[in-house]
């Protein structure tokens, strides 16, 4: 790499963790892609990384779409009010997406793209994060967006008594007074503990964090769907659908919405939505399961698009009681899983293989060099023999009855049967399976073995603290390992990327050894459009950004 006079001055201006990341890359310990992705987290812009001689991947330029037209999108009926504070279901979230925008947008590859914020940085400890805002953003009512609006938005979501849906991510990190305005265009967050990946929490990854006017308090629908986005709400019916039209006053004059109108049509199920797509009554199905989407996969009139994510179907095994107490028995089960079969067969390739830890391949921090656990029936039998159950045993497996999970359970059952483990599948609907989500009254948390459906998070923090810490609120395997507790604590407190990856590697190995939970695959978020539709931007959390969508030329 040639000497660049800009490089040194540049490095003076970035935080300690960012410089450490640059060191790791220059020393060859980090590959280019990991550096690029993680660089955006520490606020290094692509142009800044260009100064360091790192070239970004040649991106497919935005698909050229023509101006005009009405896009018809099939989406699940909102099962609650459209309100960023409380909406937790896809239908409701999709309703505020066209009018709302985020400080940062988490891209499909988990890199962070400046949106309403232009740049961000942290102090060396990762406890104070500062965001600079664009100065040309206006809300749809013409008011200018300033730091006061951003501060109000985040403090409202982080108020521990406010009941917001973002609390599960924010609690213990930011509270109701954590955000403050430095000047009109600068916002500062003082964190309750260091978080190296905080920009993810401030990004579209926290789907409720669309920037709303400071004057907003509650009642998104009554307030007429306020926001800064490229489309504005024209009509909304909670049972039938909604219509959005182009916001002619959109602040980003260079990128107005190409479409005249977007019609959302609500569906109770994906089968009728796919039928409506084939009947040319809609152009986009917001999300499909691979199983049902198969009908359109091989038809050139449609595009099925998958986005990598950390969503998974973890199978927990109780470590404190019952037939799985011995780790060798848990390992044995893990060796009976045909992971390639799950990914290529069941998921039709719209997934990637898991390695029995929550560290999904999509996380930059995940160490890909930890050896992959493979199907090995002989090893499984040997482990069972060592554990004193050479002929296997019969036990129950609670399974949540949603999407492809029952089919997945059957695949696991067939694998386990080969070594004599007879899994008796108990299918339960979501309400029954989760119960009230408390230990003692929830099959999810109480069963000796169970398969749960987990959604995507862009950083593994919540999975680690909630699922694997001994006092975790979703610790369904009842894991109680002081070493793991300690390392999770260290992982959360570590800001420097390479140091964090080192802890991640150790955790990955420990999870594989103890096997409290079997992760055989991480799923993609899949949606389908007609071949004439372009510019739809998905992200791993299962959102579609339609601001630049349109019909291809």
């Amino acid at each position: 790499m040639s000497w660049n006079p800009l490089k040194d001055s540049f490095r003076h201006n970035v935080s300690g963790p960012a410089n450490a990341l640059i060191d790791g890359y220059l020393a060859g310990r980090l590959d280019r892609r990991t550096f690029l992705r993680q660089g955006t987290v520490f606020g290094l812009s692509l142009s800044a990384m260009g100064i360091l001689g790192v070239r970004a991947d040649a991106q497919d330029g935005p698909v050229a779409v023509k101006k005009g037209g009405t896009l018809r999108v099939g989406v699940t009926t909102p099962s609650g009010p459209v309100d960023p504070m409380v909406a937790a279901n896809q239908g409701s979230i999709a309703m505020y997406q066209p009018v709302g925008e985020y400080l940062i947008r988490a891209e499909p590859d988990l890199s962070l793209r400046p949106f309403l914020a232009t740049e961000w940085s942290s102090n060396d400890a990762g406890t104070v994060w500062t965001f600079k805002l664009r100065d040309d953003v206006t809300f749809q009512d013409g008011q200018k967006m300033t730091s006061a609006d951003v501060v109000a938005t985040f403090n409202r979501l982080a108020d521990p008594d406010g009941g917001s849906i973002a609390l599960s991510a924010f609690r213990g990190i930011i509270g109701k007074n954590s955000a403050s305005a430095i000047d009109d265009l600068t916002v500062q967050f003082e964190l309750e503990r260091p978080v190296g990946n905080f920009p993810y929490l401030a990004s579209s990854d926290t789907y409720s964090a669309i920037i709303l006017p400071a004057s907003y308090s509650t009642g998104f629908e009554e307030a007429g769907f306020p926001g800064t986005g490229p489309l504005r709400m024209k009509s909304f019916s909670p049972t039938a659908g909604a219509t959005f039209v182009r916001n002619e006053e959109y602040w980003d004059k260079a990128n107005p919405a190409p479409l005249d109108q977007i019609d959302f049509i609500f569906f109770a199920d994906e089968t009728p939505a796919l039928l409506a797509l084939q009947g040319s009554e809609i152009d986009v199905v917001y999300q499909v399961s691979v199983q049902n989407g198969r009908a359109v996969v091989n038809n050139p009139a449609y595009k099925m698009v998958g986005t990598r994510s950390a969503a998974s179907r973890p199978l927990h095994l109780r470590t404190d009681t019952g037939p799985w107490m011995d780790k060798r028995v848990r390992q044995a089960l893990a060796y009976t899983v045909d992971r390639t079969g799950v990914v290529d067969g069941l998921m039709q390739g719209y997934a990637e293989i898991g390695n029995d830890s929550p560290f999904a391949p999509i996380f930059p921090v995940t160490n890909p060099d930890v050896p992959q656990r493979q199907l090995d029936l002989d090893k499984a039998r040997a482990l069972l023999a060592e554990a004193g159950v050479p002929d296997g045993f019969k036990t129950s497996l609670n399974v949540i009855n949603t999407l492809e999970v029952p089919a997945y359970a059957t695949v696991l059952q067939a694998g386990a049967a080969k070594v004599g483990i007879d899994l008796d599948i108990i299918l339960q609907d979501g309400g029954t399976y989760y119960g009230d989500g408390q230990f003692g009254s929830s099959p999810w948390l109480d069963s000796t073995a169970g398969i749960t459906d987990f959604g995507h998070r862009s950083i593994p923090n919540v999975y680690l603290t909630a699922q694997f810490q001994s006092d975790g609120v979703w610790n369904s395997s009842h894991l109680n390992d002081p070493e793991i507790d300690k390392e999770i604590g260290e992982f959360l407190a570590t800001v420097e990327f390479e140091a964090q990856r080192k802890i991640a590697t150790s955790l990955q190995e420990k999870f594989m050894d103890l096997t409290p939970t079997i992760y055989s695959a991480f799923l993609q978020f899949v949606f389908v459009t007609g071949a004439n539709v372009g510019g739809v931007v998905p992200n791993s959390s299962g959102q579609l950004f339609l601001g630049q969508a349109g019909f291809v030329e």
Binding site: S168, A268, P272
Partner: protein, 319 residues
Amino acid sequence: MTLGKFLLGRLGLALLTLWLLSVLVFLASQILPGDVGSKILGPTADKGAIAALNAELGLDRPPLERYIDFATGLLRGDFGESYSQRRAVGPLLLESSLRSLKLAIVAFVIVVPLAVSAGVFAAMKQGRPIDRIITTIGLSAMVVPEFVSGIIVILILGLWLNVFPISATAPAESGLVTQIYHLILPAIPLVFVMFGYIQRVTRASTIEVLRSDYVRTATLKGLNRFTVIRRHVLRNALPSSVTVVATQVGYMFGGLVVIEILFNYKGIGLLLFRATRDKDFPLLASCVMVVGAVYLLFTLMGDLTHSLLNPRFRVGGKR
């Protein structure tokens, strides 16, 4: 007994039935698994947020108190507020009920004339191949589940031949004709389900009437066949068909979950289904009460029509 007294008695009974229904729904909704707050916010939401929501919805109050609130509201014509939707139940219910009513009417308008004429025709050709053919078709159509016949008509008429739209909901601001056009495809599976039923009952009662002395007399005195059918046979055979049709109204109005999902029609069946899934008691109970009331109303109307068509059954009439 006069007609007025009969009606009052039946209405009283209907109200009692509705009250019992509301109690049953309330008890059942208490047994449904899961917690309302965590259903709405998702099981992995912050525990504090879930507790706050439950408190806001008043779910921390004793069940009896909540039931009394709901029941007294109902008496005032107030259906309360949906837990999951956080909006008044009344408008949601009205919108969905009107849609369900439209679909039911379209289906009835197709199936009743078709099944009744097929029933009478089969009865007149009793024992002949055409009778067997009609009856077999009716029986076969009846046992095919709606989701199977629904998919088949979508594939054939919606996708391959492309003659009917797949979605039952017409675009906003459509005229009546377009709305009916959109409802024909979803009505077909319902016609399948009901045709065999109505046709068989009509056929059986027609055969019975055809065997009666007065029909033989009418025929022997030289009336033409059409007049015999119109004046004597239909008038005596139809009451049974009317009763059958009336008992189907409840199902046609509130029991079409599968059809509504398949054809993406936001009727009351779908609303009921979602209310159950979300453990949304005010919405669930209101839906059940409306479906129950419609069912009782139409059964009563069926009885009345029955008696008007057949003087022998007329209340207060001379036997």
